[in-house]
Amino acid sequence: MDTRPILLVEDSPDDVALTLRAFRKNRILNEVVVARDGVEALDYLFATGPYSDRDPTAAPAIVLLDLKLPRLDGLEVLRRLRADARTQLLRVIVLTSSKEETDVVRSYTHGANSYIRKPVDFDSFMSAVGQLGLYWLLLNETPPSGFPVPPGIR
């Protein structure tokens, strides 16, 4: 079990509360760091601004990224993460309300590892979060840290 923290990038306090509840109900006990917009998310990941005393090499287990965010939107956050060698292998799961085809396609082309639509029905939402935790925190093999990226693979 990957016990590193989870970064939740979400601007709606309701959704934050519900997501935390879903984690708890699914016995996902990782620490959850909440960033309320894209800028905060990047500050955390690159250890800048309010997070400048954080160890930038300590990457979260997963990033749950909403697309519609104040200041810097989710797709832009994703683009910047994939453009930086330190974060290009970070597991980013887009977790959003939208099921617009363009959002799905653009998320994947920007390098999202997964795309999950938040259902209205909390039961479905819970089960989605549960499966997400099971897969990404338990079953999925992480690339070793400091894994050298062969040239040409980006």
């Binding site: 309701d14 959704d15 509360a17 697309l67 309300s97 099921k99 617009e100 259902p119 209205v120 909390f122």
Partner: protein, 527 residues
């Protein structure tokens, strides 16, 4: 007497008779004989007797051929005996005239011969008798038909030219190249410039100041002097009235009596030109408006997309909170809620979930409306079979007979047509759910306007009174406790069919099932 070309009658040749005036030297005699026998003109020697009879005394070989008579048939006989009477009468009259006047007489006559109508020019030359009295006539006849024809052709050509020139609707003038004096102009030209004939005759065309740009005029004259014709050049003219006209100018150099002239014609195209300009202006205006409307439409579409995006995102978030926190209440505070309170929360959750579904349906409908139709050949039967297969998997307990006509295909968008069939077959599946043994059919009929596809079920049916509401979004004919749904399926089907240029309609009765028909252009049936 025999024919003159016989040597024995050489003494009867004109001018040689007994050598009254002078003796022809033998060499000249030979020349005269050669001429007499070799010429293609018909020569006759005629004598006018007392009483006016004209007797033939000899004729040359050309005359024998021309008259189709032998010398024996003609010589020593009156001309009336071997010439057509009218011709003979004329010849005798003229011969008498010639003898009486002692002067040559010329005339023409026409003869209908096997070669057609021929014209002959006749010259009668008086020959003096010894003693000075004229009694003989040498008649020389020549076929002048080709000359006459040429003259006639020229006359006709001139008449045609005059007609073409004066009768033309185009303004035409002829000016002399040396001084540009007007020598000829037609009525159309006078009408164009609006001046009477007597005020322009004989003037130089330049005095009228018709050309707005004299440089253009000089260039055209330069080309004419070089022998280069000008064909339909667009030029600008100012009429004496001050009105400016646009016209097509043609000009060419012609020769009249060996002097160079120029023949001009001018077609006023001002009205046509203005109409063209008007059309160009209208087209530009139309294009501008189309561009404007397109931009407005694009803006409206962008706005609609932004709206849908916002609906998809923002409208669902609060619903999620309502449902989630209701659920949390039910879980965390169950002991503090009585049965009514729990029921209320369950209703809150059901309502929020239902609203979530409605939002999704709205988005689907809007997506279908915005979708671009990418046309390709689509096997509808295969799609229908797949959909029914999925429905059977979802509801393995159902007893449904599915009757499918294989090989039905159409030209259309595979995704959109799949959505349409999903809705139609999904409806059929849903509304037959209360029958222990149901029957669903997908087939087609061939009508005048191509294929009509149909999905038929033997389910709950509908009251035909409300058929008009069937295809309107969010209109339901069944209460939710009988059949769930949001009334979006047939509206979606209709938009898809319309986007393909087809029609859709339904037939049914309460308890008798429903048949939904639709057409798609270029529907095919591959067996």
């Amino acid at each position: 007497m025999t024919a003159l070309h016989a040597n024995s009658h050489a003494a009867n040749l004109p001018g040689t008779a007994e050598g009254h005036r002078f003796a022809f030297p033998p060499s000249l005699m030979r020349l005269a004989r050669g001429l007499f026998e070799g010429t293609s003109d018909c020569i006759l020697l005629l004598a006018v007797r007392d009483g006016g009879h004209v007797i033939c005394q000899g004729l040359n070989p050309a005359a024998e051929r021309g008259l189709r008579r032998t010398a024996a048939e003609c010589v020593d006989r009156r001309v009336g005996e071997w010439l057509p009477s009218a011709e003979a009468q004329q010849l005798e009259d003229r011969c008498r005239e010639c003898v009486a006047s002692g002067r040559a007489v010329t005339y023409e006559y026409e003869r209908i011969s096997p070669n057609g109508r021929r014209s002959f020019g006749i010259e009668l030359i008086p020959v003096s008798e010894p003693g000075g009295a004229v009694g003989h006539v040498v008649a020389v006849a020549r076929d002048v038909t080709p000359y006459r024809q040429g003259r006639e052709a020229l006359r006709q050509s001139e008449a045609r030219f005059a007609k073409a020139f004066h009768g033309s609707a185009l303004a035409k003038t002829i000016t002399r190249l040396s001084d540009r004096r007007l020598v000829e102009f037609n009525d159309a030209w006078l009408r164009l410039i609006g001046m009477p004939r007597d005020r322009v005759g004989g003037r130089s065309i330049d005095e009228l100041g018709l050309w707005i740009d004299p440089a253009v005029r000089e260039e055209i004259y330069r080309r004419l002097r070089a022998g280069e014709p000008v064909r339909g050049e667009e030029v600008l003219m100012r009429l004496p009235s001050g009105v400016e006209v646009i016209g097509l100018m043609s000009a060419e150099r012609i020769e009249l009596d060996g002097e160079p002239y120029s023949l001009w014609s001018f077609q006023d195209i001002t009205d046509r030109k203005r109409a063209e300009e008007e059309i160009i202006r209208l087209n530009a205006e139309l294009e501008r408006r189309v561009a404007e409307r397109t931009a407005q439409l694009a803006a409206a579409n962008t706005e609609l997309e932004a709206f849908c995006y916002s609906v998809s995102h923002d409208l669902r978030a609060p619903l999620r909170a309502i449902d989630g926190f209701s659920k949390a209440l039910l879980e965390d505070c169950l002991d503090r809620l009585d049965a009514d309170g729990q029921d209320c929360l369950k209703r809150v959750r059901a309502a929020s979930q239902r609203m979530g579904e409605l939002i999704d349906d709205l988005l689907t409908l809007s997506r279908v409306t915005r979708a671009e139709v990418r046309r390709t050949q689509v096997d509808l039967s295969a799609i229908a079979a797949k959909i029914v297969g999925q429905l059977r998997q979802l509801h393995p307990e159902r007893q449904v007979e599915f009757v499918l006509t294989p090989g039905l295909s159409a030209e259309g968008d595979p995704n959109l047509l799949s959505v349409a069939l999903e809705n139609l077959l999904g409806n059929a599946w849903k509304y037959t759910s209360r029958r222990p043994q149901a029957r669903i059919e997908f087939t087609a009929t061939v009508g005048d306007d191509g294929m009509t596809y149909l999905v038929r079920d033997d389910g709950a049916g509908f009251d035909p009174k409300y058929a008009g509401k069937l295809f309107q979004p969010f209109q339901r004919l069944h209460p939710p406790h009988e059949f769930d749904g949001h009334g979006i399926g047939l509206a979606t089907v209709q938009r898809i069919v319309h986007k393909h240029g087809g029609r859709v309609w339904a037939e049914g009765a309460v308890g008798k099932g429903v048949t939904v028909y639709f057409t798609l252009p270029a529907g095919l049936w591959h067996v």
